[in-house]
């Protein structure tokens, strides 16, 4: 084994000031002794296994990861005793001898495993094992393939890490294609010489393009001078390992600072390349290294022979570059080969303020959306308002041009709208506003009924119609027909009424005129019938009676012809009798002489005989003072009703009932026959259905027909009885009746 020399770990160098070398060695050994004095006693009781770790300056983090990896894979307790080697003096034989003796003395009992970190520790452990801890297996980590693959390591195994020389040289020459010189700065320790050899071997491949200059030795002024003398287009491979414990005027870091200032610098040691101005290099994963080494240590402690476990070569190393150095040497990241990890990259504005930018964009977008939504809402509202305005305009145009008086009220019945036609009709002041309601213009006689109908409608919220007289602007009252319908809000609640009133005065007058005409026609008909009846009775009958008497007298005084005269007289009497009957059919004398009840009874009996049907007549409490026209009306209604009944009812049983009360007489004619559709019959203007009500209305009575197809018909007429002095103006007394 050569002259091992301590090497700083790849991931960190302890930069604490160190004391004198001897003092340091003994302090370390004392620390080990203190640790071991308590350790073996404690672990002996637990059958723990002991591992002596030669750290070689390896960082504590890596050692902890290794320890955790071991403990995770064994079932027994493991004690780790760590010995820091003083790297700068490692090549000194005396140092190594002293260390070996101190370890043997301090560690009376052999450890179960020697764990060596990095190349110098491995060299030391292998060289001194037989004399200090013979037969103890060795496991190593962070040992370069340059050393690990150099020879067989009996009783030893572990993790070998790539040197990174090839990849680093390739990267440097790729990123600096105009390079003419590659300067390798290193020292002359065994370890560094291995690396120099590896680099040299790689550069041989490029010897036609680049010249290699090796600057070897401890950091010094001379070295700086040589650096300064390097030509342009030089790339430096910096492999000079700093040693903190050295007390030099010029240290490795000073050289490194100078080099990086003037030349693009690469290194196979990550911390040199990345943290001190270098561009980068090819580096292994130190955590993976520690974990894998821990695994191997666990296997060995569990009883596997180290020789049976092949050395593990880490394969997940990466090319890493420092972004700051790339910028310093104007190297674009796009020039980097695939898979290169760029470290310390200065964040772009986007990356730096991404959160703020995204928040701002979000706020702006949200604001824009809000504004868009508000604009859309506003546009929609304006459109809706325009539609509403147009709708209102249409309504007003319609409302103001229609001949009807249109009004609206709210749910409490307060007027909220009156159209222009209404104001024009009543002539009121439009400035009076909606307080100018209907009531002031309604005829006082109609006002209570209108008020009641309106109040009920507001209460029940049902449509209603009403006729009333309204004072026009010229002071005349006009008959109005008012129709009101409930208005509903969007949610279905009652909003009030909308109504329209039209002037029906002319229609009403026409209707009244028609009724009057109809009444007059009926009266004229009755009068004419009465006149004809009287003519027949008063004139023809009297003459026939006298003729008959005279024929009788002639018969008595004649000789021989009395038989013939009697025969003629009998003919004469028959004619008189027929004329008399005709007269009574035209006008019932019984009605005049015996009153309505007797007249109806007689008629019913006669009708029964004539038509061979049964008419059941009953009367109750019929007063004796029924006026002639009223009695005549009831008599005619009965005649008409029975004639209709016998014609259409398809039955032979009828009933007539006359009931009196102090103020009115009620006539009911009914059958239980076929019945009919009253509305259809009215539409077809059945004469009976027109004339019967007309007759009854003429005497101020009420008339109704109830009929259901298949269930019969009931006709009811109720007529008031006026005292002689309060007879209706239309009433006409029949003063002369045939006897």
């Amino acid at each position: 084994m050569g002259n091992p020399r301590g090497q700083a770990p790849y991931d960190s160098f302890p930069r604490l000031a160190a004391g004198a070398c001897a003092i340091r060695v003994w302090l370390i050994i004392l620390a080990v002794l203190a640790g071991l004095a308590a350790g073996p006693r404690a672990v002996a009781q637990q059958n723990a296994k002991n591992v002596l770790v030669l750290s070689g300056g390896r960082g504590r983090d890596s050692l902890n990861q290794m320890e955790s990896s071991v403990r995770a894979r064994v079932t027994f307790p493991v004690n780790f005793s760590i010995v820091d080697l003083d790297n700068p003096r490692f090549d000194e034989r005396s140092y190594q001898d002293n260390l070996a003796e101190a370890l043997q003395a301090a560690y009376g009992k052999k450890p179960d495993l020697l764990f060596a970190c990095m190349d110098p520790s491995l060299r030391f452990a292998v060289e001194y094992r037989d004399e200090t801890f013979p037969g103890v297996p060795i496991v190593f980590m962070s040992v370069s393939t340059l050393l690990a693959d150099k020879q067989k390591w009996p009783g030893a195994t572990g993790v070998a890490v790539p040197s990174g020389a090839k990849q680093t040289v390739d990267l440097a020459l790729r990123l600096h294609p105009d390079t003419t010189t590659v300067a390798v700065i290193t020292s002359d320790s065994d370890n560094e010489k291995d690396y120099l050899a590896a680099v040299h071997s790689e550069l041989l491949r490029h010897q036609d393009k680049v010249e290699e200059i090796d600057i070897v030795g401890p950091p010094s002024g001379r070295m700086l001078e040589r650096v300064a003398a390097l030509p342009a287009h030089t790339v430096v491979l910096f492999q000079l390992i700093p040693h903190d414990s050295e007390q030099r005027a010029i240290e490795a870091y000073d050289v490194l600072a100078t080099v990086t200032q003037h030349f693009p610098t690469y290194s196979v040691f990550g911390h040199l390349a990345l943290d001190h101005g270098g561009i980068g290099g090819f580096f292994y994963d130190s955590k993976d290294d520690a974990v894998r080494a821990g695994e191997i240590a666990a296997r060995v402690m569990s009883g596997e022979r180290p020789d049976k476990i092949p050395i593990l070569h880490l394969s997940n190393s990466q090319m890493r570059v420092d972004s700051r150095a790339l910028r310093r040497w104007n190297i674009s990241e796009s020039a980097l080969p695939a898979g290169v990890v760029v470290l310390n990259r200065e964040l772009t504005l986007w990356e730096r303020y991404r959160g703020y930018v995204l928040a701002a964009i979000f706020v702006i977008v949200a604001q824009a959306l809000l504004i868009a939504a508000l604009l859309w809402q506003r546009a929609r509202k304006r459109k809706a308002e325009a539609v509403l305005r147009e709708s209102e305009e249409r309504f007003r145009l319609l409302a103001n041009t229609t001949p009807a008086l249109i009004w609206m009220c709210d749910a409490e019945g307060r007027t909220t709208y009156l159209n222009e036609r209404r104001f024009a009709f009543t002539g009121s002041d439009q400035n009076a506003g909606y307080g100018d309601t209907w009531m002031a213009y309604i005829h006082p006689d109609d006002l209570p009924a209108v008020n009641e109908a309106f109040s009920n409608a507001v209460k029940t919220r049902q449509s209603y119609t009403k006729e009333f007289r309204l004072r026009r602007s010229d002071g005349t009252y006009r008959w109005m027909f008012d129709v009101a319908s409930p208005r509903l809000n969007d949610d279905g609640t009652f909003a009030g009424f909308i109504g329209s009133a039209i002037d029906i005065t002319d229609q009403k007058l026409a209707r009244q005129a028609l009724q009057r005409l109809s009444g007059q026609l009926i009266k004229a008909q009755e009068k004419e019938r009465t006149r004809i009846a009287r003519e027949l009775h008063d004139d023809i009958c009297q003459r026939l009676a006298l003729l008959s008497v005279e024929l009788g007298q002639a018969s008595r005084s004649s000789n021989g012809a009395s038989g013939r005269l009697d025969e003629i007289r009998k003919h004469c009497t028959d004619i008189a009798s027929d004329v008399q009957a005709l007269s009574h059919r035209l006008h019932s004398s019984k009605l005049d002489f015996l009153g309505i009840a007797a007249a109806l009874k007689g008629f019913c009996d006669e009708f029964s005989r004539q038509h061979e049907v049964t008419v059941a007549f009953t009367d109750r409490d019929v007063p004796g003072n029924v006026p002639q026209d009223t009695a005549q009306c009831l008599f005619r209604v009965t005649q008409e009703a029975l004639h209709n009944a016998v014609k259409y009812s398809k039955t032979r049983n009828f009933a007539v009932e006359l009931t009196g009360s102090p103020n009115e007489v009620r006539l009911e004619v009914k059958d239980w026959g076929a019945g009919f559709d009253v509305e259809a019959a009215r539409r077809n203007h059945g004469l009976g259905l027109v004339s019967m009500p007309e007759r009854v209305h003429l005497v101020h009575g009420r008339f109704s027909i109830e009929s259901i197809p298949g269930e019969g018909t009931k006709i009811v007429a109720v007529v008031p009885i006026f005292a002689a002095d309060e007879a209706s103006p239309d009433a006409e007394t029949v003063t002369k009746t045939p006897s």
């Binding site: 006298l546 008497v549 008595r556 009497t573």
Partner: protein, 123 residues
């Protein structure tokens, strides 16, 4: 024998004339009126033994006037002379106190008989 005083109520002059011709030989026809109200007034004033009344009189009809007369002059004899053959009216005539009901086309011997019978009837 005292002659019977008769008041006639009929608005047909030819009937009045015929009656006068027919009754005068045996009775005193003291008057002939043309309506019901005149009948009542005349009867009260002239106090006849008997009135011959037509049913169809203007003003008060024969039945109404007869009802009134029987109320005012219960002893007055009342005979209806009419063309009306309605049995209900005949019944009503006798109900109000008529002594006879003679159809005009039979007013010959029948009327005289009726007057004779009426006069002999007790009051």
């Amino acid at each position: 024998m005292k002659r019977t005083t008769i008041l006639v109520a009929d608005d047909h002059p030819m009937i009045c004339a015929a009656l006068r011709k027919m009754l005068e030989p045996a009775h005193d026809l003291i008057g002939c009126v043309g309506d019901g109200r005149a009948l009542v007034r005349s009867a009260l004033a002239m106090k006849p033994d008997l009135v011959l009344v037509d049913l169809g009189l203007p003003g008060l009809n024969g039945l109404e006037a007869g009802r009134e007369l029987k109320k005012l002059m219960p002893g007055l004899k009342l005979i209806f002379l009419t063309m009306n053959r309605d049995p209900d009216i005949v019944r009503e005539a006798f109900r109000i106190g008529a002594s006879g009901y003679v159809l005009k086309d039979l007013m010959g011997e029948e009327l005289l008989t009726a007057i004779h019978d009426a006069v002999r009837q007790p009051v």
